[in-house]
Symmetry: C2
Subunit: 287 residues, 2 copies
C-alpha cells in the first residue's frame, strides 16, 4: 500500500508498551524495517535484552518530541485499563495510539472518557499463540494474518490511515469491525475454544489411573494446544468479555444436550446426517 505517515522513517518513532509475544514481535519487525523503536516493560532484564539485541533504541526518556510519536500498547487488557492514568500523559502527547487485545468494549469506554477517541484506535491482530513472552516473539508473527481495526465514532481519518500503514508494515491485512460485534464474534471463535480446551485438560488431570500421555493422537494435541496459553491474559479476557462468553457457554451446553439426546435414543441416521452437515460447514470454512 502507498505510505504517507510511515514514508519518511526518520520523522517517526514507535513506543511499544509491553514487550511480550505481541509487543516483542512488533518491535522486532519495526526495527528490522528501519524504524526507531522505544519500549516500556515492567521487566528490566527484558528491556536490557531488547536493547542489547538492537530491537529497541531505549525507553521513554529517548522520545524525541520534535518527531511523530506512535504508541502501541501491547499489554493484557486489564493491565491497560488499570494503568490507563499512568500512561495518560504519554497518550496525550502521542500522535497515534493503538492496542492489540482480544476484548474491546471496556477499553473503548475508557478512551472516550479521556477524550482520546480521535487518535486512539483499537486493533486486534489475529496472531495469538499459546506461547508467550519476548523470547517467543518473532518479526514474522503478523505476516499474512488479519488484523481487525475497530473504527469508532470520532476517530480521525489520519488515525485510520496510520493504522492501515502500520499493520501493512508488519505484513498484515486489515479488516474493519465494530467493538460490540468484535467481542461477540471472538467470544465464539476464540474465547470459547480456550475455555473448552482448559476444561478438557482439567478433566484429564482428575484421572489418576494411568499416564494418559501415551494415548493422545494429533487431534487431542491440536485441540488442547491452547490450554497452555497465558493464564493472566486469559483471566483478563474471560472476565472482560463475560457477558458474551456466558451466553456462548450456554449455547454450547445446549448443543451438547441435543447430541446427548440423539445418542441416548440411538438415532444413528440423525447423528450421521448431523455430522455430514457439520463436515460440509467446516469444509466451506476452510476454503
Amino acid at each position: 500500500m502507498k505510505k504517507t505517515f510511515l514514508k519518511n522513517k526518520k520523522n517517526v518513532q514507535f513506543l511499544i508498551i509491553g514487550l511480550g509475544l505481541i509487543g516483542g514481535s512488533i518491535a522486532k519487525r519495526l526495527s528490522k524495517n528501519g524504524f526507531k523503536v522505544l519500549a516500556l516493560d515492567s521487566s528490566k532484564s527484558t528491556l536490557n535484552h531488547a536493547k542489547n539485541t538492537e530491537v529497541i533504541k531505549g525507553s521513554a526518556n529517548k522520545i524525541d518530541f520534535t518527531k511523530k510519536l506512535f504508541v502501541i500498547v501491547a499489554l493484557p487488557p486489564k493491565t491497560i485499563l488499570r494503568g490507563f492514568n499512568k500512561y495518560l500523559d504519554l497518550f496525550q502527547k502521542a500522535d497515534f495510539i493503538t492496542d492489540c487485545t482480544s476484548v474491546k468494549e471496556s477499553l473503548l469506554s475508557q478512551i472516550k472518557k479521556n477524550n482520546l477517541q480521535k487518535k486512539f484506535l483499537l486493533s486486534h491482530p489475529i496472531a495469538g499463540s499459546e506461547k508467550s513472552g519476548f523470547l517467543n516473539s518473532n518479526e514474522n508473527l503478523f505476516e499474512d494474518k488479519v488484523s481487525i481495526v475497530l473504527k469508532h465514532k470520532g476517530i480521525s481519518k489520519n488515525a485510520l490511515q496510520i493504522s492501515q500503514e502500520f499493520w501493512s508494515e508488519l505484513g498484515s491485512n486489515t479488516f474493519n469491525l465494530d467493538s460490540k460485534l468484535h467481542d461477540r464474534i471472538f467470544s465464539l471463535t476464540s474465547h470459547i475454544p480456550h475455555i473448552v480446551a482448559f476444561s478438557l485438560i482439567s478433566l484429564l488431570s482428575k484421572r489418576k489411573d494411568l499416564d494418559y500421555k501415551k494415548f493422545m493422537g494429533g487431534g487431542f494435541k491440536d485441540f488442547t494446544r491452547i490450554a497452555a496459553s497465558d493464564p493472566k491474559m486469559w483471566e483478563n479476557i474471560f472476565t472482560l468479555n463475560k457477558k458474551n462468553i456466558l451466553k456462548d457457554i450456554n449455547r454450547l451446553q445446549e448443543e451438547l444436550n441435543t447430541f446427548k439426546k440423539l445418542l441416548l435414543k440411538d438415532e444413528q441416521r440423525k447423528i450421521e446426517s448431523y455430522l455430514k452437515k457439520i463436515k460440509k460447514t467446516k469444509e466451506s470454512l476452510n476454503k
Copy 2:
C-alpha cells in the same frame, strides 16, 4: 525388533479388508516393504486403482492357502460387526486377524462368540486424521505413532508376536491395554474432542450475520480441524461407545458449570489460579 513370522516375506501374504485411509496406508507400506498384499473393498474403482499402482496384487481369489494369511480389517466399527458373518470363513482360514478401530468392547464380544479369540487380536493405531479415503492414504501414516494392542484372555502367544512384528513393520510402537479401559480412555482423549469440535461448528453455522471465515485464528482452526472427519465412521464410534461418552459429556458440562460460576461471581484470582494449574498439566503432557 527381531522378526520371526515376518522374516521370510515369501511365506506370508496380507489381506486388507477396506482400502480407506487406514487400510490404504497399511497396504502401501507393506507392499513397499516387499510383502504380497491383497485387498477387498466395496469400491471396484479403488481396487483397480490400488492394483494399477501396484499397491496390491489382487483380491481374495489370489489367496495362496499354502502360505500364511494375515487379515487386517480396516473398516468402520459397525461395518465390521454387521459384516462379521460374511468374513467368518476367511477369518477361520486366516493365521492372524486384527482390526484398526477406535472402539473395542462390542467387537471383542463378537470375536469370543465365534471362538476366534486365539488369533483375532484387536488393535488401534493412534494415527487417524480428519482426512479419509484411499487417496489420502500414505505409507508413512504409522511412522513413530503408538498402536494400542488389546491383549485379551485366550489370545495365543503367536498372535501377540505377529501383532508386534506387524506394527513394527509399519513403523509404529505398540502399547498394551485392556478393551474396557481402552474405550474409557479414548472416550475422553478422542471421542469427546470430536463431539465438541462438531458442536462448535454447528453453533457457528447458526450465525448468519456475517462471514466468520475471516475471524479464525490458528487456535480455532486447529481446534475444529477434526470437525471435517468422516461422518459414518464417527456415528459408528459415538453410538458404540455411548456409555462412556455420555458420562464424559456430563463431566465436561459440569466442568463448564464450575467455570461459569467463577465467571458469574467475578472470581478473578480463582480463575487465574485454575488456568495456571491447567497450563502446568498441559505442559507436563507435552513432555
